[in-house]
């Protein structure tokens, strides 16, 4: 495990107020999801999940077909599709566009995909002003931080943190009431919307048969981003495409329910191309950036390919007992929680943080809530296998490898197994039937020491089961 990963976990666990914030926020989202997906409220919930999974599987298995169909339709409605292989290509495209149109100010709505490629930083580096307009993202931009959660990006910030950030960056009188803070942001950002030439959004879905970008949000900033400026650029991963507009009837019912426990999010925008003749408003130019950035890397593997079905609802984070303890910033990349644990190693390469797939008790809660039925625990297990193969290739972690070899050998030799058991029992303290809080120093090493750092050990029984059975 990298020192950094370990340290971040430790720091988060040690921060009592942060612990409370994460646990309450995720708990609330989790409860709301349970309410609106209950059998009596949504009887066909499981059927919808099955359909969503089948639709995603079909699309990803035929991804090239649907990308081309999408592209044809975007162009038929007067938009343009731009394929980008990585972060540089995305920012180069936007920079070039901004230069050609003489734009200086860009408004952005929430998009995990642009977080992935550090778009703001790259644009700002070249002298453009790129403003996040989702309230949570705006707060984080002022704090120079990455999202803490896919759906609730600033869940770790208190109203006082926000007050500090606003006072410092905006030179306004200090307010600590969330309503007032929200109003301040509204005012500042409204002006940006009306001045900006380019609006950059993400995409929740790309609709192949319509050439449409679908955006789901509660605040209205995505609507503003895609309505007010003259140019709309949507940045989306190539996996976001689904075949038909009507498939939305399945996905929209699942997305908001899984994400925030709403029946539908406040705004669902279905955007197909620039403003048409006769329409009063809307952008004059419409671009969709289709980003690879590692996605094609995980297509060859039939069983891990399902990681690309994700609709970024965040339900797996809210239900994950690990996320609920270590929060979002402990994770080594922008995606956190169970979905982060399976896509980070696949997008970034397994050696980015080899310990990540192991940071799970494999409780399976994530797979149970995932609206598109990604078998996250299965993928985690496969990634663990991949990590061990990589370590074997590179000659790392030899002791552990040896230990498991010995384990396998012992477990296939019952006599040896029994002797080893007796030997262990003879040195282990019996503790008079009481649980053991500490061991003598020479024994308190490795896994024993780690176990004892948090818990007591069971006393060693005088006889093993097989001995008792024989003596019966």
């Amino acid at each position: 495990m990298s020192v950094e990963f370990d340290q971040k976990i430790h720091d988060t666990l040690a921060n009592a107020s942060l612990q409370l914030a994460i646990y309450t926020a995720t708990g609330r989202l989790k409860e709301k999801r349970i309410e609106v997906t209950a059998e009596n409220v949504l009887p066909d919930y499981q059927e919808l999940r099955t359909q969503a999974n089948a639709l995603k599987k079909h699309t990803i298995d035929n991804l090239d077909h649907y990308l081309e169909e999408f592209e044809r339709n975007v162009e038929a409605y007067g938009g343009k599709v731009v394929y980008c292989k990585d972060a540089t290509e995305v920012s180069d495209f936007v920079l070039d566009l901004a230069k050609r149109r003489g734009s200086k100010l860009i408004v952005k709505s929430k998009s995990m995909t642009t977080e992935e490629v550090d778009l703001n930083e790259r644009l700002e580096h070249h002298g453009l002003e790129s403003v996040e307009t989702d309230l949570g993202e705006y707060i984080l931009q002022l704090a120079h931080e990455k999202p803490y959660h896919i759906v609730a990006p600033a869940l770790h910030k208190t109203r006082y943190d926000v007050a500090d950030l606003f006072t410092k960056a905006l030179h306004v009188a200090r307010e600590t009431v969330p309503e007032k803070l929200t109003l301040i942001a509204r005012g500042v950002l409204r002006e940006k919307f009306l001045k900006a030439d380019i609006g950059i959004s993400g995409a929740n879905f790309l609709i192949a048969d319509s050439g449409a970008v679908v955006l789901v949000e509660n605040e209205g900033n995505a609507r503003l981003t895609t309505s007010a400026p003259k140019i709309h650029v949507a940045v989306a991963g190539i996996e976001k495409v689904i075949p038909r507009a009507r498939d939305l009837a399945v996905f929209l019912k699942l997305l908001a329910r899984s994400a925030t426990g709403q029946l539908l999010s406040v705004y669902t925008s279905f955007l197909a191309g620039p403003r048409r003749v006769g329409e009063v408003d809307g952008p004059e130019e419409f671009y969709v950036v289709l980003l690879d950035n590692g996605r094609t890397r995980l297509l060859p593997d039939r069983s891990k390919r399902e990681s690309l079905y994700c609709i970024r609802c965040g339900a797996c984070l809210n239900t994950c007992p690990v996320y609920r303890k270590i929060g979002g910033h402990s994770f080594p990349w922008v995606y956190s929680g169970p979905i982060g644990a399976i896509i980070t190693p696949q997008f970034m390469g397994i050696s980015h943080e080899p310990a990540l797939p192991f940071a799970s008790s494999l409780c399976g809660a994530c797979g149970e809530v995932c609206p598109v039925k990604i078998d996250i625990p299965k993928v985690l297990l496969e990634l663990r296998g991949d990590v061990k193969k990589m370590e074997a290739r590179e000659g790392q972690n030899r002791m552990e490898k040896l230990a498991f070899r010995v384990f396998a050998w012992v477990m296939t030799h019952p006599r040896i197994y029994e002797m080893a058991g007796r030997l262990a029992a003879s040195v282990a303290p019996a503790g008079d039937g009481k649980w053991i809080g500490s061991l003598p120093a020479p024994m308190s090493v490795g896994p024993m020491k780690a176990w004892l750092s948090e818990r007591d050990l069971p006393p060693s029984p005088s006889k093993s089961f097989r001995e008792m059975w024989r003596n019966r």
Binding site: I9, H10, L13, P321, V322, K325, A355, P357, F358, A359, S360, S361, L362, C363, G364, A365, G367, E368, L381, R384, G385, D386, V387, K388, E400, K401, F404, R405, F407, A408, V410, M411, T412, P414, Y417, G421, A424, A425, K434, W435, G437, G446, P447, A450, W451, S453, E454, R455, D456, L457, P458, S460, P461, K463, S464, F465, R466, E467, M468, W469
Partner: protein, 241 residues
């Protein structure tokens, strides 16, 4: 079908909690089953599998298949180890059709203890008595991989003198997770403490579960916190009278 059953007690029960195995045998015998214990048994291979050592897990799984080949039915005091056999062995032998056939045959013979009682033996009242207030901890693999939710509760409901109180939240992991418990000890400990808060919230004196590994984690943390709540395997509860 005959009334012969084989025990697979798991390595953990064999080495650390033999009383659980004895209690399970006890309950089964009382219900009229003839119980045997295939001596060659060791482990299901889960520790290696969950740690990413698939070749090693395969070796141990092969040993399991051989040891229990002749058994008609196998009863296991652990949801997690049952699920390893019924849900993960197949993944290990994808490329070996012959072994895979053996795995599929094995999947039909292996039962988690509570499920065996309610589904195969068809009993809910095993004639147990225990004066106590208990809460039930759902082991994650039993709950989510095997779908075990009501069987243990129905069995507990028939124990005379026993009152069952549900935890809120009931379905959250105790933080054990095999090597996770030591690789991420601090995190695992924090998860255990959250579980303990839920347990204390019920006012129960005893935590019951189907999985010795969860019980080891929970008891280890209870004991470390100096709390006077005990843990028992369901088999031990059902063997009480």
């Amino acid at each position: 079908m005959g009334n012969q059953v084989s025990l697979f007690v798991t390595c953990m029960v064999d080495q650390l909690f033999p009383k659980v195995g004895m209690a399970m045998a006890d309950v089964l015998e009382r219900l009229g089953y003839r119980v045997d214990f295939p001596e060659g048994q060791t482990c299901c291979g889960q520790p290696a599998f969950n740690s990413g050592y698939r070749a090693e897990a395969r070796t141990v799984a092969r040993h399991f298949l051989k040891t229990f080949e002749a058994s008609e039915r196998i009863v296991v005091p652990s949801g997690s180890c049952t699920a390893m056999v019924t849900h993960h062995f197949a993944e290990l032998f994808q490329k070996e059709p012959e072994t895979l056939a053996l795995v599929h045959a094995m999947e039909k013979k292996v039962y988690e203890f509570a499920t065996f009682l309610t589904e195969v033996a068809g009993v809910e009242d095993v004639g147990a008595r225990m004066e106590d207030v208990v809460t039930f901890h759902d082991g994650c693999h039993g709950l989510r991989e095997l779908g075990i939710k009501s069987a243990p509760r129905r069995l507990l409901a028939h124990v005379k003198g026993l009152e069952l109180r549900e935890m809120v939240p009931a379905e959250e992991c105790c933080g054990f997770g095999g090597t996770f418990a030591v690789k991420f000890a601090e995190l695992s400990g924090a998860m255990a403490r959250t579980k303990i808060e839920a347990i204390l919230g019920t006012g129960a004196n005893t935590v019951v579960s189907l999985d010795p590994s969860c019980l080891m984690q929970i008891q280890g943390a209870l004991s470390r916190a100096g709390l006077n709540v005990r843990t028992m395997h369901l088999a031990e509860v059902l063997a009480s009278r």
